[in-house]
């Protein structure tokens, strides 16, 4: 085997409760440099909650989260994004009444260099900065095959395009770690394959580390180098896809309880 990649994102012994409900119990997880890690588990296992903690929506009750060796748990979401983590949401959360172009440009906000006074006086410095942002945003849209929608409102895009735009928007913040919460949910098989190929290509082109939540085991098995399984807030298994598929605890988590067998979406 090759040597394991350098660790970029590291969750150590994380716990989180909502009132009496222990949503996350002592979970540890790492994502290596340019690694694509899958996070699977039945409904309500705590996958999204783990994302929310990593991106600063919740602060863990216990444990630490580190990005490239620096602790980020406890920082506000915008600061965590600036440090290099970007995400998408399970139920798409685009800025619906903004254009497709502006969704990406707004995400480029932190790279804007013009100050408030330059903006108000419409200085040429600001105008040049605007040109740069627009150009960059359009390149991003072209990469995601969204350029023909650039002036449409985000809410008017077809579903699959909305999913892609959300990824494009996250990438515009120039992350080192990209976290995707069920990016192919609600798509047909053809669309799923297409988007998974795009994600794989992205990872190579942009030297990204990706953590990806997915319900459908088949999808994850296809592209992930490593898979972690969450069930009732606990990590019950972790390893290469083939091993995970055969793991009796995973099979039980997915097939054991009758109500979770419909673990497709």
């Amino acid at each position: 085997m090759t040597t394991p990649p350098e660790i970029v994102l590291e969750l150590t012994d994380i716990c989180l409760s909502f009132g009496g409900l222990k949503a996350i119990k002592n979970v540890s997880l790492t994502v290596g440099k340019r690694e694509l890690v899958g996070l699977i588990g039945p409904n309500g296992a705590g996958k999204t909650t783990l994302f929310n903690m990593t991106t600063g929506v919740y602060c863990p009750d216990q444990g630490t989260i580190a990005l490239s060796g620096q602790t980020i748990s406890g920082l506000p979401p915008h600061e965590i994004n600036r440090r290099g983590i970007a995400r998408t949401f399970q139920n798409i959360r685009l800025w619906g009444n903004m254009t497709v172009l502006d969704n990406v440009r707004a995400a480029l906000h932190k790279t804007a260099r013009a100050g408030l006074w330059q903006i108000i006086a419409a200085s040429h410095h600001h105008a040049r900065d605007e040109d740069r942002l627009r150009e960059y945003a359009r390149e991003q849209l072209a990469y995601f095959d969204l350029i023909r929608f650039e002036n449409d409102l985000a809410k008017n895009l077809p579903y699959g395009e909305q999913r892609r735009l959300e990824i494009a928007r996250a990438l515009a913040t120039n992350p080192t770690v990209l976290m995707l919460d069920e990016p192919v949910a609600g798509m047909n098989t053809g669309e799923k394959v297409h988007l998974m190929e795009l994600i794989k290509r992205l990872q190579a082109d942009r030297r990204l580390s990706i953590l990806l939540i997915e319900h459908d085991m088949k999808v994850v098995m296809g592209i992930c180098e490593r898979v972690a399984v969450l069930d009732y807030g606990e990590k019950i298994a972790e390893g290469p896809p083939e091993a995970i598929q055969k793991d009796p605890r995973v099979i039980e988590a997915y097939l054991g309880a009758p109500q979770t067998t419909a673990a497709t979406n």
Binding site: T55, G56, V57, P76, P77, H78, N81, R82, A86, R87, F89, R93, L94, W95, G96, N97, M98, D102, N103, R105, A106, A107, L108, H109, K110, A112, A114, L116, I119, I120, A121, A122, S123, H124, H126, A127, R128, D129, E130, D131, L133, R169, A170, A172, T173
Partner: protein, 337 residues
């Protein structure tokens, strides 16, 4: 690339050229038409200008940043009273004590007005900063109630401050302003808000209106942007208060109850949140309407309210529905080659 640079480099000039041109037109109007129409119509025009400033500045907070603030009258009161205090107690006595001829006196009076208006704006902006930092963490209805309370607190404090007149009202404020200044400030307000929203900060504000959590997740410091919008809005509301003070020569806290705040909210909502031209049109129409409805006599305010209800029912997204007026709406489009 060089082509683009030359285009961009002229944008500051373009901004100032437009504003200078606008100022020229305003001054010309004030020397001609405004004089001809008489005091009654001049007063209506001045109220329109003040209301435009209020509506556009609140639109930045409410329409673009999506923060439901209903304390705008409080900022207006603070700006009005502090600028009036400065002119009444300091600058006007100083101006009077100088043995000046007419021309120089007029010039200095305008300088003094600029100073007190700015001071009023700054006072309101500081209040906006102090109030905004704790309250802008609240969302929706909670923020509305907090800002409403804030506006009332400002009003009650002024009501109980004796040296600015208290319950008697602040009288004998020098009359330093008229049509020209009111519209110079309104134009500046429109210009600043327009440039801001067309910029990266404006997109950040709109993003946080559309989905605050997503905005934060994309690296936008939501609290900072909300406070910025709030402070800028308060600044222009304060200036509007100062203009009112130095036109009416009299201030009373009764003019700044939360009903006044609601009135400004109505301008924004009716014009269409997120549309500057919408705010301008709504502020103008709703200032004229109660006057025009004088023919309805005792049914005046009833018909005013009824018209509001009808407008909201037929066009809930507001007059402009978040879009801006563009010349291409009325001028024939140039044929494409």
């Amino acid at each position: 690339m060089p082509n683009r640079l030359t285009v961009s480099a002229s944008s500051t000039q373009r901004t100032f050229t437009w504003y200078a041109l606008y100022a020229l037109v305003i001054m010309l109007l004030s020397r001609t038409v405004v004089g001809w129409v008489g005091a009654y119509y001049e007063q209506i025009l001045i109220f329109i200008g003040i209301n435009i400033t209020l509506a556009v500045s609140l639109n930045l907070v409410l329409g673009f940043a999506g923060q439901f603030s209903i304390g705008h009258a409080g900022f207006m009161a603070l700006g009005g009273y502090s600028s009036a205090a400065l002119s009444y107690f300091v600058l006007n006595p100083a101006l009077m004590s100088l043995p000046l001829d007419g021309m120089l006196h007029a010039v200095l009076e305008n300088v003094a007005l600029a100073i007190v208006l700015f001071a009023g704006g700054i006072a309101a902006a500081i209040a906006g900063l102090l109030v905004g930092i704790p309250t802008l963490r609240l969302r929706g209805d909670y923020l509305a109630i907090a800002t409403l309370g804030m506006g009332e607190i400002i009003r009650v404090v002024i009501l109980n401050t004796n040296f600015v007149g208290g319950a008697r009202g602040f009288t004998d404020i020098p009359r330093w302003t008229g049509f020209t200044w009111v519209y110079l400030i309104a134009g500046a307000c429109v210009l600043v808000v327009r440039n801001l929203i067309a910029s990266t900060s404006g997109r950040a504000l709109t993003a946080l209106r559309e989905d605050e959590d997503a905005a934060a997740a994309m690296g936008i410091n939501t609290t900072r942007h909300k406070v910025m919008a709030f402070v800028l809005g308060a600044f222009f509301a304060g200036m509007a208060g100062g203009l009112l003070a130095h036109y009416m020569q009299y201030l009373h806290t009764n003019s700044f109850t939360f009903l006044r705040s609601i009135e400004i909210v109505v301008f924004v909502v009716l014009g269409g949140g997120g549309s500057i031209t919408g705010s301008i049109i709504a502020a103008a129409v709703l200032t004229v309407l109660p006057e025009a409805l004088r023919v309805a006599q005792s049914w005046r305010m009833v018909s005013y309210s009824l018209l509001l209800v009808i407008m909201m029912l037929t066009r809930p997204q507001g007059l402009m529905g978040g879009r801006e007026f563009h010349w291409s709406w009325i001028l024939p489009r140039r044929k494409q080659a």
